[in-house]
Symmetry: C4
Subunit: 129 residues, 4 copies
């Protein structure tokens, strides 16, 4: 179901999200209620997708590349807060995300902000090309 009649796989290999910003404060129990930015990666194809995630900041610093794999016919949701190898990205700062994959995937970006007692959420399919 994942390839069309021409055998063309679904998705793109390069994705970008300009609006990264992990809120510093959280309200409520860990890990469910921790404020976070989240990358949602869907590999509906038949080949392992090998990714690199790179974060760009406003002052010229970069974080990563963070290596990641998404197995065929699987989804993987990754909190930016949980990227720690080679090093943890700083919180509370503006950043943009570049995702590069060797296989076509689809990428969605979401934020959960629990600075206050109630959740605020947002989400958008990333820009792919």
């Amino acid at each position: 179901m994942t390839d069309d009649e021409t055998g063309r796989p679904i998705g793109k290999e390069r994705w970008q999200i300009p609006g990264g910003h992990v809120p510093v404060d959280s309200t409520g129990p860990e890990p469910e209620m921790v404020s976070h930015d989240r990358l949602c990666l869907l590999n509906a194809g038949t080949e392992m997708a090998i990714l690199e995630i790179l974060l760009y900041y406003a002052d010229g610093r970069e974080a990563g590349p963070y290596p990641l794999t998404v197995a065929p016919r699987r989804v993987r949701h990754v909190r930016i807060n949980d990227l720690i190898d080679p090093y943890a990205p700083p919180l509370g700062e503006d950043y943009g995300i570049v995702v590069e994959s060797n296989e076509p995937i689809v990428v969605q970006f979401s934020r959960q902000d629990t600075t206050h007692a109630e959740r605020a959420t947002l989400s958008s399919i990333a820009y792919g090309e």
Copy 2:
């Protein structure tokens, strides 16, 4: 109004949403206030659209395919919680959605999270190609 001058119908036949996750908890009366992920399917064409919805999880499990139809010139909103045939998808887990249609349609994804007393909502047009 639904076809352009070349007779080309509006929409795509293959859509994906990587960011599925139905919140387990809800606050308030059923069914209005139940936490849910929702697929919104618009068939603005003149032919019946015959769909298959497939859910991919993080651990390699799949749910579906769930068969669905959208009549010509109609909209259909489907809560993921309400997909039960062939079996109900598990809640509280990360998943991605693949929608395949025999006719061009347009797909939007939304979430209502009522874990707390106030609603949190998000929405995005899905990735179509």
Copy 3:
């Protein structure tokens, strides 16, 4: 600034939004806090854009077409609740939106839900082609 070097205008002439649903209840003063779905229409070109808006429901009913114009180099935000000619669309029901324009425009969809004391909001660029 609105046409590129080839003179090609920015935007699309056909847009769709599958996820329409105006919440029935509101909390707070009119008109600011009334629950609503909103179409945001940007005509950055140099010609008057003449639009027709059509609403499709789940049961086969249609509402409209609602005629609308957007002057050159202007934005126009329209609450679905305020479409009343030829007749007011029903609230509290699922619907999809088709926008047709004689000139390229860009369309964004937003919802404000004040069923409860706090606002819930969502937004997405519509699907254009």
Copy 4:
């Protein structure tokens, strides 16, 4: 990592957002909790991006162009409220945004609404072409 094998840079040079509207009221400490619309601009390329931002209103007024640069491999988040040169855009009014860049970039639009004690947030990748 930012150019594909053909050397084609990632992104678009022309972006539009129809749904601008900065809420007039805010709750909580400045600057974090001030209601605002935000443009998130990602330049993942190797050349300085030189931008002009133009705001279109419902009554035919325009604000700007506001000049802006985004250095190579950097992100820049700009609150519409903070655009003051050549003059501050009016708050509490509907507007649309046109971003023109000499280099390919990616643009995301977000709103934080703190009219009430809790944040409401929304976000969407802009329309690029």
